[in-house]
Amino acid sequence: MKKILALVLTGAMCVGLLSACGNGGSSDSSASSASAASSASAVSESSTASTSEAESTPAQRDENTPLVVGYSPFSEKFSPFFASTAYDQDVQGMTQISLLTSDRQGAMIYNGIEGETIEYNGTPYTYYGPADLEIVENEDGTVDYNFTLRDDLVFSDGEPITIDDVIFSMYVLCDPTYDGASTLFSLPIEGMDAYRTGIAKVIDLMQEAGPDNTDFTFWTEDMQKAFWNLENVAPKAIAEEIVKYCVDNGYNEEGDITGAAGNWGFSIPENGTIDDFAEALKEAYAGDMISMIETEAAGSTVADFLPDYEKYEEYVEYAESAPNITGIVKTGDYSMTVKLTEVSATAIYQLATTIAPLHYYGEKDKYDYDNNMFGFTKGDLSHVRSVTTQPMGAGPYKFIKFENGTVYFEANELYYKGCPKTKYINFLETQEADKLNGVTTGTIDITDPSFSNDTVAAIEKANGGELNGDVITVSTVDNLGYGYIGINAKNVSVGGEPGSDASKNLRRAFATVFSVYRELGVRSYYGERADVINYPISNTSWAAPQATDDGYRVAFSVDVDGNDIYTSDMTDEEKYDAALQAALGFFEAAGYTVEDGKLTAAPEGAALEYEVLIPGDGTGDHPSFMILTEARDALAKIGMKLIVTDLTNSSDLWTALDAQEAEMWCAAWGATVDPDMYQIYYSDVANGGANPGGDAYRYGIQDEDLDTMILQARKSLDQSYRKTLYKACLDIIIDWADEIPVYQRQNAIIFSTERVDMDTVTPDITTFYGWMSEIENTVLK
C-alpha cells in the first residue's frame, strides 16, 4: 500500500515537471508587470471559457449612481497648465473648456457661438464652442486672430468668464519660467521674444558678458572665473575622458589618441597628443565650452566643471524686458486679438487655449490689463503651481477630490452646454490586466484597454462571439500616429553621399524587401486591428493620400527602371521573389557587384552587412519583428547580411538615434493634428543645415525642394493647397527611401452594454472627437 502511494506521488511529481514544457509564455502584449499579465491571461482565458458567468449585480439605478471609468494610474498633475501624462490631461480636461472646439476630423470650429453644422459620415452635426474666431490676413504678411467670447459664461463656482481669464491663461503659458507641455510661446506672436527675454539664465548672461566683465550684479567673480576657466580646463579633461572611453570600450588601442579622436568625429594629425585633441575640441566650439561639454563629453557633465552649478541655472531679470506681449491685445470685455508676424498654419491649434479661471489660478488683485499686470508676478508661477492637484474651470464636471485611487467628479450645473445628465463620475485607477474584467464584472463601465489579440478574443467570448454585443460594445479609432522602419541616409549610403542616386538605390533595395513583408507582419501581430499604410503619415490626417486619390502608389512597388514589380495575380511567394529580384536590381544600380544572383562586393562607403535596431523587449514583441526576420532570411539568399538587433531596453534605441549611429531602426511617431512636417523633415540644407527641425537628423534627408515645400505649406492656411504640397513632400520622402511606412493601428474604448445607455454616448467617435466630447449626454441605464 505504501509502495503504491509512493509510486503515485512520484508519478505526480514527474508529471508536474513536464508541465513546464510547452509554449513559453502567452503572446500577451498588454504592458503590465509580468506576473500580473500572466495571471490575467489565465484569468481571462478561463473566465471566457465558461459560458455561464454570474450576472454582475447591477448597481442601484438611481440618478446618483456614478458612472465609473477605468484609467491607468494618475500622476496627480491635474493642472490645465502642467498636466503631462494623457491620463492627467483627461482629468483636467473634464473640468475645463477651450477657446475653440474641434470637429470630428480635427478642424477648428470658427463660429462656436452660433454653432456650425458639418457633415461627417453622411450625418450633419452641429458644433458649439465658447467663442468665435475670425482670421484676417493682412497685406504686410501679418495675421490677426480676432476672438469673440460669449458674454454669458460662468465658471463652476459661479464667477463670470471674461476675456481677462483668456489673457491670463495665455500669459501663464508664455511666461519665461513656464515648463509645461504647451509650446504657445514658440508661435510667431508679435512681441513674444521681447517679453520673454530680459529674463534669462545666469549662465547665458555670463556667456554673453564675456571674460572681462566687471558687473557682478547677478553672479560672483569666482563664478565668472570658473566659467571662463573652462576653456583652459575642459577641453583637455574631455579629451582625456573620450580617449579613456574609447580605449575602455575597445574601440581604440591604448595611446591611440588620433584614432579615438577620429571615432569621435575630430581629425587630428597622426600620432596626435591629448593637447592636439583638446585644441581641436576647443576650436570646433569656438569658445562655447558649455555646448562642447554637453555634446562631446563621455560621462561628465557641465556640473562637474562648475561647482554650485544650480546657481548658474537660475533665472534673473537682467534687463528691461518688455512688460507685455504687444501681439496680445484686449479689444473689449469679451474680445481680443492675437497678432502673428507671419502666416503659420499650426498656430490655431496652440491659440485655442484652455480658459482657466484668473481668480483661482492667478490672483485677481494682480490683474490690471492697462498697467501690464496679468494675474501673477512675471517669472513667478508659484500660485499657479500651488493648485496643480485641484483643477477648477468651466468644464462639464467639477473636480471633487482624488482619494483611494479614485478621482471624484460632480456635474457642473452651470456648464454652458447644459447640466450633464450623469451627476457623478468616478475615474478609477486600474491596472491594464484588470480593465476588461472590470467591465464584465461591473467594477467599471468604460475603459481603454490595450487592443491586443488577447483582448479581442476575450471580448468576443464575453459577448458570445462578436466584437459588439450585449455585454461589451467596442469603439475603435485610428491611433494618432503610425509605425515605420527608418533608415539613416548618412549611415546607409554609397561614397559618403546620402543624396546620390546610388545611395537612394541602396536604401530602396532594403525598402523594397521590407515592404513586401509588411502585410504578413502586421496581420500576424495586429490581426484586423491595424492597416498597412503606404505613405509616412497617419491615416487620421486630412493630408493623408487615400487609395482612391490620383497618384496613390503602394510604397516601394517599382523596380529600378520604374516598372511595377507586382501584378495582381501573384501569389505571396511570387511577390517575395519578385521583391528580392527588384532589390538585386537596386543593389546593382547602387554599385554592388552581382555574380550569379548574389552580391559579392560592395562599393566604396557601403557594406555587405547592415544592422537594424528593433525595441522588441528582447522577445521580438514588436509589430515589425516578423518583417525584419523574413527580410533578413530573404536578403541572406542574395548575399546581404541583415543583423536584427532586438533591444531589451528601448532607451538604447533613442541613444543610438541621438548619437546618429543607428543604420536602420523600427519605431512609431505620435502625430499632431496638423500635418506640418517641419520638426521631422526640415533640413535647412540651403543654409548648410544651420537650423533644421528638431528630429530631422534621424533620417538625414537633405533635400532643398522638400525644405521649400515644407515652408510653403506651413505658411498657408488654404487646406487644399497644403494637401497638394504635402502629397509632393511625401513623394520626395518615399523617393529618398529613408522611411518605410508600415502600420496604422487602432485604439479601442470599451463600454459596458449592460450598464451604459449606448444611445446617449457620443455618436461617431473619432480620433479627434473622443467619447468624452459629449459627456454631458452620457447616462447609465
Binding site: 508587470s33 506576473s35 500580473a36 495571471s39 490575467a40 484569468v43 478561463s46 473566465s47 465558461s50 458567468e53 454570474a54 450576472e55 454582475s56 449585480t57 448597481a59 442601484q60 446618483n64 449612481t65 456614478p66 465609473v68 494610474p73 500622476s75 496627480e76 503631462s84 515648463d179 507641455a181 509650446t183 514658440s186 554637453e294 555634446t295 557633465t301 557641465v302 562637474d304 552649478y309 544650480e310 541655472e313 496643480t388 492637484t389 471633487i400 483611494n404 485611487g405 457623478y424 468616478n426 478609477l428 485607477e429 486600474t430 491596472q431 484588470d434 474584467n437 464584465t440 464584472t441 461591473g442 467594477t443 531596453n649 532607451s651 538604447d652 517641419y678 520638426q679 528638431g694 528630429d695
Partner: protein, 328 residues
Amino acid sequence: MKKYILKRVLISIIILFIVAFVIYALMRCLPTSYIEAMAREKSMQPGSKSFEEWMTQLSAMYNMDKGIVPGYFMWLGQMFTGNFGDSWYYTIPVVQKFHETVWLSFVMGAISFILELIIAIPLGIIAATKQYSKADYTISIVALAGISLPTFFFASLLKLIFSVKLGWFDLYGLVGRNHQQLSAMGKFLDIANHLVLPIIVLVVISIGGLMRYTRTNMLEVLNADYIRTARAKGLSERKVIYHHAFRNTLIPLVTIIGGSLPGLFSGALITETLFGIPGIGLTSYNCMVGGDIPFSMFYLVFLAILTLAGNLIADILYAVVDPRVRIS
C-alpha cells in the same frame, strides 16, 4: 541591557548609512531614469529645446548632475533637515504621499497579522499534540500549500472565483462605485468589503510558515524532560499542554512575532497591485517603475530601517521572554 540596546542602535545607524548609499547608487545606475523620460518627452514637442538642453536643465533641477557620492551626501544632508524632497511622479512632497498611503497598508497588515496568529498558532499546537494523526497531516498539507502558492497566482484565483464567477466582490479597488453616496458607516463597510479578498490572500500565504514553526517548537518542547515529569505528577493533559508546554513554545514565537511587527508598515506590493489597493506597496511600485528617485529612496531606506528595527526587537524580546538568555 541598556548598553546592549545602545550599541545595537549605533551599529544600525552605520549599517543604514551604508545601505542607503548602496540603494542610492543603484537608483542612479538605472538605465532609464524619470528625468530622461521626461526630457525625451519634452524635447519631442514642436519648437521646444533639444533633448540635451532639457537633460541639463532637469538634471540640475533634480540634483542628478553630480556624481553619485556628492549626490548622496546632498540627499543625506537634506534628509537630516527632514526634507525628503518632492516625489517626481506625484509632484507632492514624498512624506505627504507616504503619510497618505502607509496607514492603509498598516491596517491591512495588522488585520491579516492578527488573523494569522489566531489561526496558525492553535492549528500548530493541535498538529503537534496529535502528531501523525489525520489532523496533523491535514494541517501540514494546508500549511505547505499555503507556503507554496505564489501571491499573484492565489490572488488571481480568488478574483476569478469570487469576483468573475460568483460576483460576490468587486474585481479590484478600495472603494465601490457608490462610496461617496454612503453614510459614514456605509463607507466603512464598503472599504471593509473591498479588503476581504486581499486580507484572505495575505493570511493564507503566511499561515503556513507560522504553523509549521509552532508545530516544530511544540514538538521539541513536548519531548522535554519536564513535560514527562508533569505528566508523571498526574497533571491533566490540558494543563500540561497549555500551562507548561505552550508557554515555552511562546519563547521563539514571540521573538518572531516581535521581529515581524515593523514589517506591517512595508505593504504587500503584489497583493496591493493586483487588487488595486492604493497602499504604500502599489504607490512605491508605480514610483519605482517610473524611476522616481526621491520616493523610491525614501521608501527603500524606510524598509531598511524597519528591517533593522525588526531584528533589534526580536533580539531584545528573546532576552526578555527567556530568563535563561542574558545579553552580554
